[in-house]
């Protein structure tokens, strides 16, 4: 299911972009890490119904804080953060576009989906309606980007899972399989659970990072059979999020 993404990138549709030009030259880059383009950015759009916790998810990731008071987002908010990956050498600049869940702002959102790399579609595990509405959001994403986007399903408010859960893991897993999302995860911005993991997984899902991983594994073992790590990665992601 993630195969098409890998294919599309490897086919070089966006051959004009720096990410690809740099990744194509990765063999040369090993000797010169300094040459990595410091201006490379990835656009991540956060979608989902009103009050599912999109803004608090971003706030938790950005500032590691949680505000109990609810303030509806007006229009589209923007925040960006540089992420250091495992090896501490690779940095990725993430542009986080926080959309408003209110219906009156709905018309704005497709314009932001159209050039995004990742669509993080959020729902509230204590609100079945927000989960049911995921179809609408997924439809919007597919309409704008087709399969050329990484879709991530995020069930927020997992700290309330014991008392008020309305969406089961099975439900989301079923949806995940049907839509071909990259992975799904349950988070709690209040309890700061899985938030960092979510963004780490998003970063690892990005084509450039995957390409680097491929390159490293190729360099290490020279075994072409281990190229496609995206397929290998998906089941464990689902497992960890399930557990």
């Amino acid at each position: 299911m993630s195969q098409p993404q890998v294919d599309s990138i490897s086919n070089g549709k966006s051959s004009q972009s720096i990410s690809n030009s740099s990744s194509n030259n990765n063999t040369n880059n090993n000797s010169n890490n300094d040459k990595i383009n410091i201006l490379r950015k990835y656009k991540i759009v956060f979608l989902g119904d009103q009050s599912v916790g999109k803004t608090s998810l971003i706030t938790r990731f950005m500032y590691d804080t949680f505000d109990e008071t609810y303030a509806a987002t007006i229009g589209i908010d923007f925040l960006s953060k540089t992420m250091y990956l495992d090896d501490n050498k690779t940095t990725i600049r993430l542009q986080l576009w926080d959309t408003a869940g209110q219906e009156r702002f709905r018309s704005l959102i497709p314009s932001y989906i159209r050039d995004s790399h990742v669509a993080v579609i959020c729902y509230d595990i204590t609100n079945k309606k927000s989960f049911n509405n995921l179809d609408k959001w997924i439809k919007d994403v597919k309409l704008e980007r087709g399969d050329d986007v990484i879709i991530v399903l995020v069930g927020n408010k997992s700290d309330l899972s014991n008392d008020k859960r309305q969406v089961t893991i099975e439900d989301v897993e079923k949806l995940h399989r049907s839509i071909g999302s990259k992975f799904y995860i349950e988070t709690s911005t209040k309890a700061n659970h899985n938030v960092k993991l979510l963004f780490k997984k998003i970063a690892q899902s990005l084509p450039e990072f995957e390409h680097q991983q491929n390159q490293q594994s190729q360099d290490a073992s020279n075994n072409p059979e281990t190229i496609d790590i995206s397929i290998d990665n998906n089941p464990p992601v689902a497992n960890t999020s399930c557990c």
Partner: protein, 816 residues
């Protein structure tokens, strides 16, 4: 033998072990010393004089020697010298003695005998006396110790014992005694001589050694002299040499000073070849900037050189350093421009160097601004190209692949990945989506460009907070300048869409969209940002367009024949006002702001006047132009119907509350007017109109105060007579029973039943009130009353309740 007078030699050798004693000074007796006197007494005996001379010369020599060898002698040596001196003296005497005896042996003997005989004969007495006294004085005055004297005498005594000389002989005054004494003396002297010679023999090796020493000393002296001469000679030479050396030292000092000065000058005012190389062709790095700082400091220090008498040196140094600085500056500018032009190849090290360049250029505003301008122009061009690619979509893609735009394609893809997304197509069906996409794209551009510029122009290691602030302002300025380029194309595109829109609902959506983006951009851009101002202008454009559409629509309606024809005798409001309000009012109803479109109070007032007052005005004009509706009552009714519709439409909208009140007031005015018309109809139908006017002229009946006497002048009127009043009564009797139906029928076309009721009630009540008062006047001045009283009339007109209530109110009032 004078030396025997020295007591030290008079000993028997007991003092052999001791150091040679010092010769005792002569007594202070009035006798001269033996040695001095000896020569005088014995004229032939020149020994003493020679001895003295020798003594003097030896003393002189000694003193001379001593002078030269002063430092080498010791106390012991002094004593030895003295001893040696006396030894020498003795030796000389001995030698001379011997020589004399050898040379003049016979003569001497004969002379001695002869002189002795002569002496003895001539001066025997005196001599004896003198000798004795001399001897005695010598012995007595001698400082010899008693023990020594005793010893001397003991020795002498021993001589007596050893020799056969009788003591008596010695003391015999005669010749025999003299011979004995001389004999004794000879013996003693002989012994002494022996002793002396023994002693002297002991000195012989010393003397030999002394002689050797003397030779050596002489040699040493000679050497000393030579050395002294040499030294003197050398001294002169060295003096000259020293002088020369001093001169050379002086010149050396001067030279070293000069050298130091030159070194210092070189350090302070010149760049070495390596430094020149670094500045002119070397890599731009820390060293480069350090060297550049040095070059600049040289330039600054040149003011010192320029202030000296001959400023040529300063000018030369300055021109050279200026040349190098300018070249370095050119290199920095070229590097900065090159780096900023090729952002896609921006690496961390290159960025770090760029920051150094920017930090340096910051103080050179013209260069800095030229770089910034070049960069902003280039970025602006890239953004515009990208924008046009996005907006024009695939149409331009073919041409954009061509060589000149290839670079910009690559550059633009740094800030965003729009090349990956499908282009924004303008759709005739969905202009909102187009504007939404466009604004979302601009939003992305704004944040991307802000991030890019911030990452390029924000120093990684700022030197101070001041610098951080300074560069933040620079970043803001650059972002504004770059994004400014997008202002015009965005405005053009959206203005086109706004201008082409005629549907108010779509325009309102556009307005909402651009206003929302203006709000969102406020978070990203400074308030004075050109792009933000452009978006705000788009908000105004959409508002203006909204107003223009309304104005145009009203203008069309105003001139529309169909709208005019829409007016007919059914007196109903025209269709256009219904359509107009059904279009516009739901939009205004959506607004949650304090004023329409969040306009200012005056603009809000103007806009509400446009949507409320202007249609009324147009409608009035249409009525005026229409010939069908000539009847005043119909005119008022159609207006009331229109206003009533307007009021009913605008009443629920909070933003138009003021206008609702205003319309209500107009309605009230019209109601009063219609009431008056209706009253006139009643009066005319009852033939009371003239009487009503006469009464009103005397005193309006509407006044609270009423007194019949006031109306006395009515009698003067010709119309006012009993007959006419009777006739009037008949007419009233005839008309009133059907009046209510007539009135109601005439107001049937009035849409608002409340207004109808008001008009009927008010007109009837006024009529009844007049009727009542006129009846009282008639009673007073004509003694004639109408058949029906006022209550009956009110009942017939259907306003008895209102009349009753009013009558009750009037009775309560104190004036009646």
């Amino acid at each position: 033998m004078d030396f025997i007078d020295f007591d030290s030699f008079g000993g028997n050798g007991a003092s052999k072990d001791q150091n040679l004693p010092q010769p005792q000074p002569a007594l202070s007796l009035p006798i001269t010393s033996n040695i001095e006197n000896l020569g005088k007494r014995i004229s032939s005996f020149s020994l003493t004089r020679n001895l003295l001379k020798f003594d003097d010369s030896s003393n002189g020599e000694n003193s001379h020697d001593n002078g030269n060898l002063m430092n080498e002698t010791t106390v012991i040596n002094k004593e030895n010298e003295i001893a040696e001196k006396y030894a020498k003296l003795s030796m000389n005497l001995l030698k001379k003695d011997e020589n004399t005896s050898h040379n003049n042996g016979i003569t001497y003997n004969s002379d001695d005998e002869r002189s002795a005989g002569v002496h003895n004969i001539k001066n025997s007495e005196n001599q004896t006396r003198t000798t004795l006294s001399t001897r005695l004085s010598r012995v007595l005055n001698d400082s010899l110790s008693d023990s020594l004297i005793r010893e001397i005498f003991t020795n002498l005594e021993d001589k007596f014992n050893d020799n056969d000389l009788a003591f008596e002989e010695l003391i015999e005054p005669g010749f025999q005694g003299s011979v004995a004494r001389k004999k004794l003396r000879g013996k003693i002297e002989n012994e002494l001589i022996k002793n002396q010679s023994l002693v002297l023999k002991e000195y012989q090796p010393i003397i030999r050694q002394l002689r050797i020493i003397e030779d050596r000393l002489n040699k040493v002296n000679t050497l000393n002299k030579i050395t002294n001469e040499k030294i003197n000679k050398n001294y002169k030479f060295s003096n000259e040499f020293n002088h020369q050396v001093n001169e050379l030292n002086e010149s050396k000092k001067l030279l070293s000073l000069k050298k130091n000065l030159l070194i210092a000058f070189k350090d302070q005012f010149t760049l070495n070849e390596y430094e020149e190389y670094v500045l002119t062709t070397g890599e731009i790095n820390d060293e480069f900037f350090q060297t550049l700082r040095k070059a600049e400091s040289i330039n600054e220090k040149c003011s010192i050189l320029l202030s000296i008498d001959n400023p040529q040196l300063g000018l030369k140094v300055m021109s050279k350093s200026n040349q190098i600085i300018n070249k370095s500056l050119e290199r920095i500018i070229s590097f900065s421009n090159r780096t900023l032009n090729n952002l896609y190849s921006l690496s961390r090290s290159r960025l770090s160097t760029l920051h150094k360049c920017l930090r340096y250029l910051k103080n050179k505003l013209n260069y800095f601004s030229s770089i910034v301008n070049t960069f902003t122009e280039q970025r602006s061009k890239v953004l515009i190209d990208e924008f046009l690619n996005q907006v024009q979509g695939n149409l331009d893609n073919g041409s954009s692949i061509s060589a000149p735009s290839g670079k910009s394609q690559r550059s633009s893809s740094i800030s965003s990945d729009h090349s990956n997304s499908r282009p924004i197509f303008i759709s005739a069906h969905d202009p909102i989506r187009f504007i939404g996409d466009l604004m979302a794209y601009v939003h992305s551009i704004v944040v991307n460009e802000s991030e890019t510029i911030s990452s390029i122009f924000t120093l990684e290691v700022p030197e101070s907070d001041e610098e951080v602030k300074e560069f933040k302002n620079i970043v803001d300025d650059i972002i504004d300048k770059i994004l400014k380029a997008l202002s015009r194309p965005i405005k053009t595109r959206i203005d086109q869409i706004i201008a082409s829109q005629t549907r108010l609902s779509l325009l309102y959506s556009i307005y909402n969209l651009v206003e929302l983006y203006a709000l969102m951009f406020t978070k990203q851009l400074p308030n004075n940002s050109e792009l933000l101002l452009t978006v705000k202008q788009l908000v105004y454009s959409s508002q203006d367009r909204f107003k223009t559409i309304i104005s145009n629509r009203l203008a069309t309606i105003k001139s529309s024949n169909s709208a005019k024809l829409d007016l007919n005798l059914d007196l109903q409001p025209p269709e256009w006002i219904v359509e107009f309000y059904s279009d516009i009012l739901p939009i205004i109803d959506q607004m949650t702001t304090d004023t329409i479109f969040n306009l200012s109070k005056s603009d809000h007032q103007e806009f509400s006047t446009l949507i409320v007052n202007k249609p009324i005005e147009i409608f009035y004009e249409h009525i005026k132009e229409n010939n069908l509706i000539e009847d005043k009552r119909d005119n008022i009714i159609i207006k009331l119907n229109f206003l009533d519709l307007t009021l009913s439409k605008i009443m629920p909208i909070t933003l138009l509350n003021d206008k609702a009140i205003e319309v209500n007031e107009i309605i009230n005015e019209l109601v009063i007017e219609l009431t008056q018309v209706q009253l006139d109809v009643l009066l005319n139908n009852c033939n009371l109109y003239d009487y009503y006017n006469i009464v009103q002229m005397i005193c309006p009946i509407t006044d609270d105060f009423f007194d019949v006497s006031i109306y006395e002048p009515i009698k003067e009127n010709k119309l006012y007579n009993k007959e006419d009043i009777v006739k009037l009564n008949d007419i009233i009797q005839e008309f009133i029973p059907n009046a209510l139906i007539d009135v109601q029928q005439s107001l049937m076309k009035l849409n608002s039943p409340m207004i109808v009721t008001d008009v009927i009630t008010n007109s009837s009540l006024t009529f009844v009130k007049f009727y009542e008062k006129f009846n009282l006047i008639n009673l007073e001045y004509l003694q004639q009353t109408f058949t029906w009283n006022s209550l009956e009339l009110a009942t017939l007109l259907g306003v008895e309740e209102e009349f009753f209530q009013q009558d009750r109110l009037d009775s309560l009032s104190p004036s009646v």
